[in-house]
């Protein structure tokens, strides 16, 4: 079978975010870029599916600025993907443009039997591309998936909903699966894997090659701001009995949150 994973490169979770002087975005200098953490679960699940089905191939695709984003593809190749598709795009394409580019690339490079994504990207935290891709490709999707099995061309998934509740879904035929944390334990890229990844093919597309115009992005972000500074902490001194009694009265009478 032919399997595809869609990934995104994002700032590392430990990155400190600062705002550009013109407030039109965040400062990208000095940021460490990594594969979106949820996409690592998607890559791992796709590799497991490939390994369980002899003769399968696994491709990985990203939409983003090639100069940096190609590194995320290399990471996925080092983990075990066979080939990669780099769709060069400026920073600010919106979710719909991204989904259109992915759908068009799937049309050109496919057909794929299964598509994996991460449940959301930790930068804009929209959680939109999985569902948009499902619509544009005309196949069902399941997002926030924490358990996955594939049998006879169909998928069975467990997805997390609210308050720790879970749904078990069956998806018939090809589908888009959005991975959540807990789905698996992503493997590290081994040194031989990293060496091999350098020789694996990366195919280049521009947005224009895929019939997508970044100017058609329908959502834009501006006026970036940092959260307001919080007032200095009030430390409650003393013995535990006195500390806890003071805290409760402060919450009740000063903060008025009880």
């Amino acid at each position: 079978m032919k399997i595809l994973v869609c990934i995104k490169q994002v700032p590392d979770t430990t990155a400190k975010i600062s705002i550009k002087a013109d407030k039109q975005g965040v400062e990208t200098n000095g940021i460490k870029w990594v594969m979106n953490p949820y996409d690592e679960f998607a890559v791992e699940e796709a590799i497991k599916l490939k390994e369980a089905n002899a003769g399968s191939t696994l491709s990985v695709i990203t939409v983003g600025p090639k100069a940096r984003a190609v590194e995320a593809l290399r990471t996925a190749l080092a983990m075990g993907a066979d080939d990669a598709i780099m769709v060069d795009a400026e920073e600010n394409v919106d979710n719909l443009c991204t989904a259109k580019a992915l759908a068009a690339a799937i049309e050109k490079e496919g057909p794929f039997d299964m598509v994996f994504t991460g449940k959301l990207a930790i930068d804009d935290q929209q959680s939109a591309v999985t569902q948009m891709l499902s619509e544009l490709c005309g196949i069902p999707h399941a997002n926030v998936v924490s358990k996955y099995t594939f049998a006879n061309g169909n998928s069975e998934v467990e997805r997390e909903i609210e308050g720790g509740a879970k749904e078990v879904l069956e998806l018939k035929g090809k589908s888009v699966i959005g991975a959540n944390k807990g789905l698996n334990t992503p493997r590290y890229a081994s040194l031989p894997g990293i060496m091999k990844a350098k020789k694996k093919p990366v195919k280049d597309y521009s947005l224009a090659d895929l019939g997508v115009d970044a100017q058609q992005s329908k959502v834009s972000y501006k006026e970036f701001s940092l959260p307001p500074e919080r007032p200095a902490v009030k430390m409650i001194e003393g013995e535990p009995a006195g500390q806890t009694a003071s805290l409760v009265s402060l919450l009740k009478d000063e903060a008025k949150v009880l």
Binding site: I19, Q125, S127, E135, A165, V168, E223, K234, T244, A255
Partner: protein
């Protein structure tokens, strides 16, 4: 122009996050329509009417009680195609976050999720939303979007006072769909507590609790406060509690009125997920822990000792 609201309900009672959206939509003076699905949808539509819903498309059908991305999508697609709203508003519920972006793709329109502020000028929305799970904020706007699709975070808007009002109800039946997605089972969570994203008070634990079974101390505190229980990434990764309890950039972004962090040092990715909480209490043995920089009130001490005493203190006043 029309604003269409996804009116979410259970057993005829409208979710308060949906009432927020209806109240906001009504305050704009535009036409306010809603879609209500599931058993008791009609009763819910009538309740929504008291908050300003003028027109309701009601799919009273027990088959729609359980969210299904395809069957719900078919109902919404039909109404949106017919009504041609300029704006579609929905909550931040799991079902809503799943459904709305798919609709946006169908109608070739833009989508913004997790908005915390919403403003309408003419026919154009601007929204404030957290990015990098609250490390910063940005203002989102739409361009050449036939419809503006938005999921709003709960507890951000005022619910208006209910008034006697009649809502114009149109009963619909769900379009038949050749389902490729079958919901086979729903497994309820062990916890009966509110989801972290909707909780007004959160009690959260980290490494300082020493071992998994000490989360029982937080459960007792949460019982007294009517709170939900969260956790740091470290203890989720250690397998003490499920990922659904994780607060932070790779877990849930939360903004309760009161967040009590017990034995959590405050890694940057955890702080990102909770630092917009109104009041933050930090209890930690290390006075240099970064969590104290975000806290409103701090106690340097052992959470295992402080938490049970705190539970007893709260019992006295609640």
């Amino acid at each position: 122009m029309t604003i269409l609201v996804n009116v979410e309900q259970t057993e005829g009672k409208v979710r308060s996050a949906s009432l927020e959206l209806i109240s906001f939509a009504a305050s704009t003076g535009k036409d306010v329509a809603g879609i209500v699905v599931g058993s008791s949808a009609k009763a819910a539509a009538e309740e929504a009417g008291r908050y300003g819903l003028q027109k309701a498309f009601v799919f009273e059908d027990a088959n729609l009680d359980q969210y299904n991305s395809e069957s719900h999508f078919a109902c919404f697609s039909e109404i949106i195609a017919e009504l041609k709203p300029k704006i579609v508003l929905s909550t931040g519920s799991a079902a809503s976050r799943d459904l709305i972006p798919k609709l946006a793709a169908k109608f070739d329109s833009g989508f913004v999720s997790d908005a915390v502020e919403i403003n309408l000028s003419g026919e154009d929305l601007t929204l404030k939303k957290p990015m990098y799970s609250g490390k910063c904020f940005a203002q989102a706007s739409f361009k050449d979007s036939a419809i503006q699709f938005v999921c709003m975070r709960p507890n951000q808007l005022k619910v208006s006072e209910p008034k006697d009002a009649n809502v114009d109800i149109t009963e619909k039946s769900a379009p038949s769909v050749d389902l490729k997605t079958i919901v086979k089972e729903v497994v309820q969570g062990a916890s009966k507590r509110l989801d972290l994203t909707e909780a007004n008070i959160i009690v959260s634990g980290g490494r300082g609790l020493k071992e998994a079974k000490n989360f029982e101390l937080l459960e007792s505190l949460a019982d007294v406060l009517g709170a939900s229980v969260g956790a740091s990434r470290a203890v989720v990764d250690a397998g003490w509690v499920p990922h659904s309890m994780q607060v932070g950039q790779t877990g849930k972004t939360v903004a309760p009125s009161l967040y009590i962090a017990c034995g959590i040092s405050g890694a940057i990715q955890h702080l990102a997920g909770m630092s917009t909480s109104k009041v933050i209490v930090a209890i930690n043995t290390d006075p240099e822990a970064p969590i104290f920089q975000k806290a409103t009130y701090g106690i340097v001490g052992d959470a295992l000792e402080i938490v049970p005493m705190l539970t007893e203190e709260f019992k006295k006043v609640l």
